[in-house]
């Protein structure tokens, strides 16, 4: 009896050990700290994806996401990345939520030669594609793409002169760089450029200066609820022109705090924000609706956000790349497999995802065209309303 038992255990152990080790993917997100409202839906998306990926498996193998929280902190993000690479031996890194922390991770992944897909916005993460950044890809739209969409919309509406007010930090400066550049190329006249701090309680001075310059439209280069303040002040001071915001405000909190003050705001956004309003031919409509249904089934109606969809897109890109890499390389040989995976990522073509169509190339690690990845949205009756696409 006892011998039988041991034999059974041994056989079971043998059978288990025969099953190949899971494919480990390292994930770093800001699940706590100031960027948590972005990081939590990203983390949830990976919980959802792991469950679903293992129903079929990737090329018959299990997938394991090792999710670490960086607390919206660069040092913590870098430490987590090191840990994932050295202790867990992950095949690739996805993350992190914020631009500064993502920039910090580049050195680590380049040194260890591990491919990484960032979920942060700034173009500086993937451009220019140098020796280090050849390992780094990303999914969210850059300011440059969104600025292009804004300028296209402004020209359509006959805007001749514009003013800019933005955060006095990397976000505001990044937008100013690309917006002023695109505006100049588009033949618009930029009449004012002002700055304010996220923590400011008043922007009267800046707004008065903008109104004195009489622009046809104002772009507010800010994110989240602090973006409400300039718009409120513009309304209070009787500004009647168009007001544009960036895609950094595309969350329900902006509508909650803004209320009546943000009615009529125009902003470029990822197509998923207004997925059900998209025309049926729009490429991202299906994956976006697909993601929303799956996310809401697990986490409740109305719980999805556009930020979680960036994480979803990262997996839509990584999964086929993994499958292709598995044909030619053995994941047990980490160094070789990581290099093969990087090459396959760079070969990504026509991945239709929830935020656009990705076509990576040797010098483009974002691979989005603004026509596919940005739609103009307007706030109407406290809801996001699709006003136009650029296709």
């Amino acid at each position: 009896m006892k011998r039988w038992f041991f034999l059974l255990v041994a056989a079971l152990g043998l059978a288990l050990s025969q099953q190949p080790a899971p494919l480990k993917i390292g994930v770093v997100v800001s699940a706590t700290g100031p960027a948590a409202s972005l990081g939590i839906p990203e983390k949830n998306t990976f919980l959802l994806l792991e469950e679903e990926a293992n129903k079929r498996g990737v090329a018959g193998r299990r997938v394991q996401f090792i999710i670490l929280d960086d607390a919206s902190d660069t040092t913590q993000a870098v430490r987590s990345t090191r840990k994932l690479i050295q202790e867990d031996g992950v095949l690739a890194i996805i993350g992190t939520t914020t631009t500064p922390a993502s920039l910090g991770m580049i050195d680590v992944v380049a040194e260890a030669k591990v491919p990484m897909i960032s979920l942060a916005a700034s173009k500086s993460i993937i451009a220019p594609v140098d020796a280090k950044r050849s390992w780094v890809f990303k999914t969210p739209q850059t300011e440059e793409l969104m600025a292009r969409a804004i300028i296209a919309d402004m020209k359509e509406r006959g805007v001749k002169s514009v003013a800019y007010i933005g955060f006095n930090d990397a976000y505001g400066e990044g937008w100013w760089t690309f917006f002023s550049q695109e505006a100049k190329e588009g033949g618009l006249n930029v009449v004012a450029s002002e700055r304010y701090a996220r923590t400011d309680t008043s922007v009267t001075g800046q707004i008065l200066k903008i109104i004195a310059a009489r622009p046809d439209a104002v772009l507010i280069g800010a994110s989240g609820t602090p973006a409400v303040l300039p718009q409120r002040t513009l309304n209070e001071r009787g500004y009647k022109g168009l007001i544009y915001q960036t895609h950094g405000v595309a969350n329900p909190d902006f509508l909650r705090v803004g209320g009546k003050d943000v009615e009529g705001t125009l902003l470029p956004a990822g197509p998923i924000l207004v997925a059900e309003q998209l025309p049926s031919g729009f490429p991202s409509k299906r994956p976006a609706l697909d993601y929303i249904t799956r996310y809401e089934t697990k986490f409740g109606i109305g719980s999805y956000s556009t930020f979680g969809a960036h994480a979803y897109d990262a997996w839509l890109i990584l999964r086929p790349a993994l499958e292709r890499a598995l044909k030619n390389a053995n994941p047990d040989n980490l160094t070789a497999f990581r290099a093969a995976l990087r090459d396959e990522l760079e070969a990504t073509k026509n991945v239709v995802a929830s935020h656009g169509v990705f076509n990576y190339s040797k010098d483009d690690h974002l691979g989005l065209r603004f026509q596919d990845t940005a739609v103009m949205v307007q706030v109407q009756n406290g809801r996001w309303k699709l006003v136009r696409t650029f296709r």
Binding site: N168, T199, T201, S202, T204, G205, K209
Partner: protein
């Protein structure tokens, strides 16, 4: 810059200056009595309107837990004084009960009062738990402690309220026109409260026995103790007053400026700049300094918005320099 813009900026500067003035008053009050530079004052200001916003949404604010647990810790420290300890425990329980009521359908004005009430005990409890155990601390030790508390409270604010802003409804909605200048009615409530607070403090310090005792502590702690004044109790009263002014100010200004967990520090810092302009001892000079800071901020945001903070804080340098020249003879610490 024409007259309209000038008057708009003036109104804006006065509004911000008044907020800084209220904070500067609290800082001076606490510093004079206890030698503590109350860096977390901005957080105490921010806790109240955010708790109010949560209560209105029917959520139980984390600040009630914080306040209650601070009171319980205080009761444990003072367990030898049975009646006080019991009263503190009772207060803690009462707070939790009231906050529960507030989050379950109490009328708006009750929630308003509750939000202030929930924050009030934090002031004296902060003094009892963190500063009183160090009766002989220097200004520097207290400052380090205060900066630490600021980070703790701000972090707790992020945990309790999340990273986004809230905008509670104002007491008076709508705008009033002053000539060609439209001003939100709520601004007048803020002005009225600021005047009331200043008048109240003036009467308190000149007419009441408590106020005179506090002044005695401010002038000479040892002498005050010899004449039978308990400096610890004076400290608690000073913290309570400062917290009350800060919490009510927060409730009044939140509808104008949007409240968020990170708003406290910068407001407190500008209040501190204003207080420094008054040498952290003179109330009228602190108020004057606050108005200077507010106006300077307002006009510099028009002229060079990217350098606004730099201009405001650069103001500190000449003032500190001038102060240090004048007070060379005052070297050491008293006691």
């Amino acid at each position: 810059m024409d007259w309209t813009i000038f008057s708009f900026l003036l109104a804006d500067g006065l509004q911000n200056g008044t907020i800084y003035a209220l904070l500067a008053l609290c800082l001076v009050l606490v510093f004079a009595v206890t030698r503590v530079i109350l860096v977390p004052l901005g957080e105490l200001l921010m806790f109240a309107p955010l708790s109010y916003a949560l209560l209105l949404q029917g959520q139980f604010p984390g600040t009630a837990w914080l306040s209650a647990s601070m009171l319980v810790a205080w009761a444990l420290l003072d367990r030898s004084r049975l009646r006080l300890a019991l009263a503190l425990l009772l207060l803690a329980g009462g707070l939790l009960g009231l906050a529960y009521w507030g989050s379950h359908g109490a009328p708006g004005w009750v929630a308003w009062l509750l939000a202030v009430l929930v924050v009030l005990p934090m002031g004296p409890a902060t003094y009892r738990l963190f500063f009183e155990p160090l009766p002989r601390g220097t200004v520097l030790v207290y400052l380090i402690l205060a900066v630490g508390l600021h980070f703790v409270y701000q972090g707790l604010g992020l945990v309790f309220f999340g990273p986004e802003q809230y905008r509670p409804p104002p007491l008076l909605s709508g705008e009033a026109n002053l000539g060609s200048l439209p001003l939100p009615r709520q601004v007048f409530v803020v002005y009225a409260f600021a005047l009331l607070a200043m008048l109240g403090l003036y009467l308190f310090f000149t007419r009441s026995l408590y106020g005179k005792a506090l002044r005695a502590c401010a002038v000479n702690r040892l002498g005050a103790r010899i004449s039978g004044i308990n400096p610890s109790e004076a400290g608690r009263v000073a913290f309570l007053l400062a917290t009350a002014i800060a919490a009510v100010s927060g409730m009044l200004i939140a509808p104008l400026v949007n409240a968020a967990y990170f708003m406290g520090f910068l407001l407190g810092l500008k209040g501190f700049v204003a207080g420094i302009l008054g040498g952290l001892i003179s109330y009228p000079m602190a108020v004057g300094g606050a108005l200077v800071v507010g106006l300077l901020e307002s006009y510099s945001s028009f002229v060079a918005s990217a350098y606004k903070e730099a201009i405001v804080f650069a103001l500190l340098l000449p003032v500190l320099f001038w102060r240090s020249l004048r007070t060379l003879e005052l070297g050491g610490e008293e006691e």
